[in-house]
């Protein structure tokens, strides 16, 4: 896994490089948008971490250029500013995630992992979350290496949670995910499926209840 870090502050860049290297990623660092353009053309990456406040061409312009050029590379935007406008424009311009400085290194690593996994799940048929292994095309799932039998609705709920691993998924969204089979399904039914999933999956990947909001599948490895 290879990550491009575009950050002009040497101290921050060095810390990110060390943190990600320790987490097992290969890291390339450049200090400006111009040099990032060159690196992106000549090399292939799994993720780019881009600081907004770059000297010269800023990070949002770089992001915009990448998206215009058709790049689907996952991008995590770093910023020291907190204005709403920054956040909105970053996400509008095609950023996949957004982190405000100062950040905690474990948080950064977790976000990188999630972004890379999500982009892989779009192209690959398999997904691994903690002790959980999903074959998306075949609707097959293994927990700690043991195949698990799931009903179609249980599978739909698990797939929806797995594709949004680490994020809170609203109950309504899960209802939509299984609405293909059942038109009149209530939010209460979701609780039943989640409860069954918890029993079947054991501790391989915990499904957290977020009271009043929905559920979150956690990556036990983080």
């Amino acid at each position: 896994m290879r990550i491009l870090v575009v950050e002009d502050d040497a101290l921050v860049a060095d810390a990110i490089r060390r943190g990600l290297t320790r987490a097992g990623y290969a890291v390339d660092h450049v200090g400006s948008a111009e040099r990032a353009g060159g690196a992106l053309e000549s090399e292939s990456f799994d993720l780019a971490i881009i600081d907004i406040g770059l000297p010269g061409v800023d990070g949002l312009v770089l992001l915009q250029r990448m998206r215009r050029a058709g790049s689907a590379l996952p991008v995590l935007i770093l910023t020291a500013r907190d204005a709403l406008a920054d956040r909105v424009s970053a996400l509008d311009l095609g950023a996949d995630d957004y982190l405000v400085k100062p950040f905690e290194l474990p948080e950064l690593v977790a976000r990188c992992r999630a972004l890379i996994r999500r982009s892989r799940s779009a192209t690959s048929a398999n997904l691994t979350i903690g002790g959980l292994h999903l074959e998306l095309g075949a609707h097959r799932v293994e927990a700690d290496g043991v195949p698990i039998n799931l009903t179609r609705r249980e599978w739909a709920v698990l797939e929806c949670l797995a594709l949004n691993v680490g994020r809170v998924v609203a109950k309504e969204k899960l209802v939509q995910a299984i609405a293909n089979w059942d038109e009149d399904i209530g939010a209460n039914a979701i609780e039943v499926y989640v409860s069954r999933l918890r029993t079947k999956l054991g501790g391989a990947a915990p499904i957290r209840t977020v009271r009043g909001l929905g559920y979150r599948l956690d990556d036990a490895a983080v």
């Binding site: 502050d9 060095d14 500013r81 907190d82 204005a83 709403l84 100062p102 950040f103 290194l105 809170v168």
Partner: protein
């Protein structure tokens, strides 16, 4: 909106007061002039009638025997005609040159001729004011004086009638003028009132220029100055925002580097004996970063740093979901059940500031709620307004502390945690920036704290 009560310095009132004194003076003069010019001819007409009477009496005088002794040949019918008057009493006296009475009322006062013949006098007779005409004439060889008088009741009646009508018409004119002024000024200041209402209807943050076109030329300079003021305030807000953005960047970037490096160092096996100190340094630097963030948030919440353009329709339920999601890991680590109870509701506000408000309330609740406690974030409608609230079942805030905790840098004595005492001050400021009320109360079953922010109006 209720209309404000008439201000003390109302243009109308001033104008009316200014006009009242001169108008009263004009009224007085008018009444006087009209009375004089109206009463004189009447007076003259009655005098002429009196003169006719005197001449008529004189016509009946004869010097029959030519010896200078006058015979007053006044038949009873003539006297009756002379005295016949429905209103006034008529008196007459004919006297010879030596003053002896020839005929008539002996006690009628005699007055000498003064120039005009007849001469008119106002005298008192038998307790009444009378008008007396004294006419000298010659009958044969004898000189006689004929005096005819009448009481003044007719004259008084006529002049009173004239005076009344004059005063009434002039008063009507005065009142009419004042009413015209009252109504006219009201109509005249209508553009000013409209301008005032236009300004009052805007949000205090709306700094868009006022339209000059519908404003009368007299008020245009005022509008122009207001617009210049709006421009200045807007520019100041923008430059303050830019300054804060730069300050945030300059503060946070090195802090991010230091915090991440300290964390790496502390985890490095080579750290050895220095690990404890490195962890302490890491923790201290994180606190510093937290304080820097809080100070920046406080500055951003300043009314001068936000403008109308920062305020949009904002869905509170989305903000609650975001803030709860962001704090989930922290609540799991602290063993606190963090949840939400939301109802979709929108308010006009700055999403950034409102997120900051919620984040601070949740941060506080998580910091002071013990393990196995619970924190619930709610939003919804209340009446025409909306609310967000964060309720915990922690130790709560003593009622006497509830005001003080909103002060900047104030911390409840001996409270756990290591906050900088800015969280609730930020909440207070942001609530105020949204014209919302921020209250601290007891949680459910009189335990813990319920921090509630109520917005006046939901969209």
């Amino acid at each position: 909106m209720t209309r404000p009560s008439e201000p003390a310095h109302s243009v109308r009132r001033r104008l009316l007061l200014l006009l009242l004194a001169p108008l009263m003076l004009l009224l007085g003069t008018g009444v006087f002039v009209d009375y004089v010019t109206g009463a004189r001819p009447i007076h003259d007409a009655y005098d002429r009638a009196l003169r006719e009477d005197a001449l008529a009496v004189a016509a009946h005088l004869r010097d029959e025997d030519g010896n200078g002794r006058i015979d007053a040949d006044l038949p009873p019918q003539a006297v009756a005609v002379l005295r016949a008057d429905s209103t006034d009493s008529i008196y007459y006296a004919v006297r010879a040159a030596d003053g002896t009475l020839v005929s008539g009322d002996a006690d009628l006062p005699a007055r000498p001729l003064r120039g005009a013949n007849p001469t008119f006098d106002d005298v008192e007779y038998r307790g009444h004011a009378i008008r007396l005409a004294t006419y000298a004439t010659r009958v044969g060889a004898a000189e006689v004086t004929v005096a005819v008088a009448e009481t003044t009741r007719k004259r008084t009646l006529a002049t009173t009638r004239i005076l009344t009508s004059i005063v009434l018409t002039d008063l009507a004119q005065l009142v009419g003028t004042l009413v015209l002024v009252w109504v006219g000024v009201r109509y005249g200041v209508r553009p000013l009132r409209a301008l005032g209402e236009q300004i009052a209807a805007r949000s205090a943050r709306d700094l868009a220029p006022l339209d000059e076109a519908p404003v009368p030329t007299e008020i245009r300079p005022l509008v122009r100055v207001l617009n210049e003021l709006f421009d200045t305030v807007r520019a100041a807000a923008r430059s303050q925002q830019q300054f804060l953005a730069s300050a945030a960047h300059q503060l946070r970037t090195p802090l991010a580097g230091i915090i991440a490096q300290l964390e790496l160092l502390a985890r490095d096996p080579a750290a050895g004996a220095a690990r404890e100190r490195l962890l302490a340094l890491h923790d201290g630097t994180r606190r510093l970063a937290h304080t820097a963030n809080q100070l920046l948030a406080l500055a951003r919440a300043e009314p001068t740093a936000t403008t109308h353009e920062d305020f949009h329709e904002t869905e509170l339920a989305t903000l609650v979901a975001e803030v709860v999601s962001q704090n989930l890991d922290r609540s799991l680590a602290a063993g606190i059940d963090l949840g939400a109870e939301t109802e979709p509701v929108r308010v006009i506000g700055s999403a950034w500031l409102l997120r900051e408000l919620l984040a601070n309330l949740v941060d506080n609740a998580l910091a002071y709620t013990p393990r196995d406690g619970s924190v619930t974030v709610r939003c919804g409608r209340c009446g025409r307004g909306a609310f967000v609230e964060v309720e915990d079942d922690g130790p709560g805030i003593a009622p006497e502390q509830r005001e003080r905790v909103r002060e900047r840098f104030y911390r409840v004595p001996e409270s756990p945690g290591n906050g900088c005492g800015l969280g609730l001050a930020i909440v207070d400021d942001i609530a105020r920036a949204h014209a919302a009320t921020f209250t601290l109360g007891d949680g459910a079953r009189a335990r813990g704290t319920r921090a509630r922010v109520e917005f006046q109006r939901a969209v």
